[in-house]
Symmetry: C2
Subunit: 570 residues, 2 copies
């Protein structure tokens, strides 16, 4: 093995030992003056959207999206690699700025116990990042649920818009893991308690308000997107919007601080913009447009993370996020690890939270090669968008050099830049090779292009993604989905991009199929619309939008000690 895991302190210990710089200094390095900063405690500061204009004349950073091969239940370490790469630039004399999603609080108390990178590539302080931060998630919750209440109230108070109660799709949200809220009946107990309805709660990250906040380019754009949210249909089948319910303004007021991105820093004082955390399946899984619009003039390199594998997170980055922001990427990192490729060989059964199969820990570069197909497909997915890919071999203590070399060999066969990166154990110093590889890739011309034009029919957009990104032979659209697609086009939503909701654990719709399967078709069961966010989302599989808690939730181990310090986050 390359390095000993036991030599590394716990994430929380590393986070606590790190020396933060005053955020005014972190901001100053990006060209953000103190008049554009609003401190929120000592952990984070909000950045005014005026920074977009004020920084416009500064040089434009190279724009690097970090994605991955299809993740395994182990996770590929995408956030850690993004942080490590950002830190790595400092060691080659450049300023990297990192843009990340805000972690959802529900899972923090469920299975994860925290999410802020790891080892010596972390955002600090991890306690603030994982708990409330500046309240953006709560603001999304409040705005979403105000619309729910105003909608129910409208129906209760006479229903002037003639909303069909059976055609209401807007639910409620909370940032929590609570399975009991998935399916509920509200409005019981008589007339004064409103009108009974079958509905439910999703986790806040799954809210359309979160999705559209992440895609908004300004407060005005946010206001307009909120107004376009479709909550359901009237008895004539016409869409009913938040604007028609006269609530979009109040929702925008609730979000007027949440739209400002949050500035934090890494353990090496590298600037990090934390903003928004939309789901990666029913939404884009990308951090906010406004954070990138500011940070694109804040350093030499802007490293932005896209959720899940390149077929999902990067595809949505290219075709939905960049479409909204107008920014074009210069390079795309694909994170891949020895364990991930071994899993994609199909030989091992890996389960989250359980020890790895012993056979998987034996030195075996052939197993890595056997899993190469997924990496090759993801590199092709990046290239299909005209962008240069860089393979980041995220080093683990259990790796052997021969195995890491196998990944570098695959990358070389594909003509892609590649580097092994030891940022987890060594911080930015361990990511120097990766930073250099990314810098070289960025120096090559990028011919970024989107995958499909706006005016392509919705079904064809879905089929294009299925064939060209996932490697499917085609799509099977259910009769329900076909009717829905027709209705969306009829209602004027046909120009929107599509945001496919499918499992992130496979290129196919079956989470157990590893590698890069061929000879299969993507079933489209149902199609929904996030008109405010600005995309149509076909449902290809079962999407869980409200997680549950396990038999032993992390909440049981999280507490304060006698000095008032938080324990149990990891």
């Amino acid at each position: 093995m390359t390095e000993s895991a036991t030599s590394i302190p716990s994430d929380l210990a590393i986070s606590r030992a790190a020396v933060p710089r005053p955020l005014t200094e972190v901001a100053a390095e990006m060209g953000i003056g103190p008049h554009l900063l609003e401190p929120y405690g000592n952990a984070a500061a909000k950045v005014s959207l005026d920074a977009i204009d004020e920084l416009r004349d500064r040089p434009r950073a190279k724009y690097v999206v970090v994605s991955a091969i299809t993740p395994t239940p182990l996770g590929t370490g995408k956030t850690t690699t993004s942080v490590g790469l950002g830190q790595g630039f400092k060691h080659i004399g450049k300023l990297g700025v990192v843009a990340l999603r805000q972690p959802s609080m529900g899972p923090t108390f469920g299975i994860k116990g925290g999410a802020a990178g790891g080892g010596y590539s972390q955002v600090i302080p991890m306690e603030s990042l994982n708990l409330h931060l500046t309240g953006d998630m709560h603001a999304v919750t409040a705005a979403h649920n105000l619309l729910s209440a105003m909608l129910a109230n409208h129906i209760h108070k006479g229903n002037a818009l003639r909303i069909d109660p059976h055609a209401v799709s807007w639910r409620r949200v909370l940032d929590i893991n609570d399975r009991e809220l998935r399916q509920i009946v509200t409005g019981l107990g008589g007339r004064t308690n409103g009108t009974p309805a079958e509905t439910g709660f999703d986790i806040t990250a799954a809210s359309e308000v979160m999705a559209l906040l992440a895609l908004s380019t300004s407060l005005r754009d946010l206001r307009e997107r909120l107004g376009r949210i479709v909550v359901g249909y009237n008895v004539d089948g016409e869409p009913v919007t938040a604007e028609m319910l006269k609530v979009a303004g109040a929702m925008c007021v609730l979000l007027r601080d949440a739209i400002k991105p949050n500035l934090m820093q890494t353990v090496e004082q590298t600037p990090v913009m934390i903003h928004c955390g939309p789901f990666g399946n029913i939404a884009t899984g990308n951090s906010s447009v406004v954070a990138d619009l500011i940070a694109i003039h804040g350093g030499d390199y802007l490293v932005t993370e896209a959720g899940f594998g390149a077929d999902i997170g990067a595809e949505k980055f290219f075709n939905i996020k960049c479409r909204a922001s107008g920014l074009t990427p210069d390079a795309a990192v694909v994170v891949a690890g020895v364990r991930d490729l071994k899993t994609h060989s199909g030989k091992y059964r890996v389960t989250a939270g359980k020890p790895l199969p012993e056979a998987m820990l034996v030195e075996n570069p052939d197993d890595v090669y056997a899993g190469a197909s997924n990496l090759r497909r993801q590199l092709a997915n990046i290239r299909r968008h005209g962008v240069n890919p860089v393979v980041a071999v995220n080093a683990f203590p259990t790796d052997y050099e021969s195995e890491q070399q196998a990944i570098l060999d695959i990358a070389a066969e594909e003509g892609a830049y590649a580097a092994v990166s030891n940022h987890f154990t060594r911080g930015g110093k361990g990511a120097i090779d990766l930073a250099q590889a990314v810098a070289e890739a960025c120096d090559q011309p990028s011919t970024y292009q989107r995958l499909y034009p706006d005016d392509m029919p919705l079904a064809d957009k879905i089929e294009t993604i299925a064939r060209e990104m996932y490697g499917a032979d085609g799509i099977d659209v259910s009769p329900l989905a076909a009717r829905q697609l027709e209705s969306y086009e009829h209602n004027g939503f046909g120009d929107l991009p599509v945001c496919i909701a499918k499992t992130h654990l496979s290129l196919t719709d079956d989470p157990t199929r590893k590698g890069a399967p061929t000879g299969w078709r993507l079933p489209v069961r149902e199609v929904r619309a996030s008109v405010g966010a600005g995309f149509i989302y076909p449902i290809c599989g079962t999407m869980q939008t409200m997680p549950g808690l396990s038999s032993s939730p992390a909440a049981e181990r999280i507490d304060i000690d006698d000095e008032g310090n938080i324990v149990g986050l990891s």
Copy 2:
């Protein structure tokens, strides 16, 4: 009439025109150094609880609670008077500090459109005060609902504590007006969605977590109170606590910032501590203990507001809040206005949101006298606790001098200090007389005492309050309530104070009965326990713990304008 209402700009215009001082300076005036401050945006700063110890050696402020006669649907202007009085001290060469509850956001979008005082006696910026502020309400929501999820998960995952599903009293909360959530069924849709249960949501202000946060004296005390929360009973009838569910630690972690009070300022730069907003019926209706423990050494006078009339808010201040804090008051202001006393005459029917009856606007000091009984009773209620009362005649533009004089005459008959206060139209300058009256009252000896000893049986405590505060002839305890009282005493909760939940619109349990009715008995329908907060609360009437929205909610008028400013808050 004494003054023209039209000469005063709108609350929002006054708030916007005010010039705030940097909060570090506001804090410095209180003796709070910058190391104890955490800025949250530019509107508010959190104050570290270390300030309690650091300020301990500074002189102790005179402690003044602001309560009122029994309010009418018009509201008596208690918050405005508290702010005005705090400002008034500056004009007599003293430093007043004001402690207020944080307004609940639900009603802001419902009927109220904001709550920050009014006219020239306001907390600024009103937008921040009314919207999220530093996120404390959301933190309470998150902590409360984490307990709900952990409780449901415990039952779903085998129910090792043998919790009786029919004896679960813990619900969920959201800071919103949403009548459809009052009564719901959760856990539908099959085994993976948990166990079906009949339950509901209350507004966050009604959460026991809010009540206990307001009464906690330290982070450690908070942790212990959270552990004592009783969520229901097991099949043997024994209480099940948050500690037994192993979630009190995680709840405390979620509240570690929320327990720090928020420093803001008034339009005249007077320091204001904003912290917690518990309901006034099923909880204490008082702002936090920790805010008062800090501010008691932060000026010459600490003005703290207690919700509703003196029979409710001040009684709970004396017997629950002061019991927790160990602080003892020096004087108690009773806010009374011409319109309020006229309403207590019983001659007029006043409805919130509708114009006043024309006859009520005619000069008529006799009508004021006819409503004196309520004021006399509330002054007696203050005196019963050994504290000197001061009547604050909150001047309205529609008042006549003869009518204001009538209130001063009643106060004189009762031997109470009194002053007319024009703080709404004139700010602190208008409250000089009131500040002087309060200062004089504080210079008299106070012989503060609680109404009943801890070891008095619970039913006797209820009867003592009913007789001595409300003027009832006795109480009628239902068989259910009697069983509950017996069970609470059996479970060791008998030493707790009682916090009576009844209408705030009458001294009786009938909101339509004005003045100070005699010859009636208080019915006790049911009794509940907030063991974490540390009180038993008898239910005397119907308490609405989740408001609804009207046909024309304030949310419809709240929006951002083209410059990004908020409009529609008032």
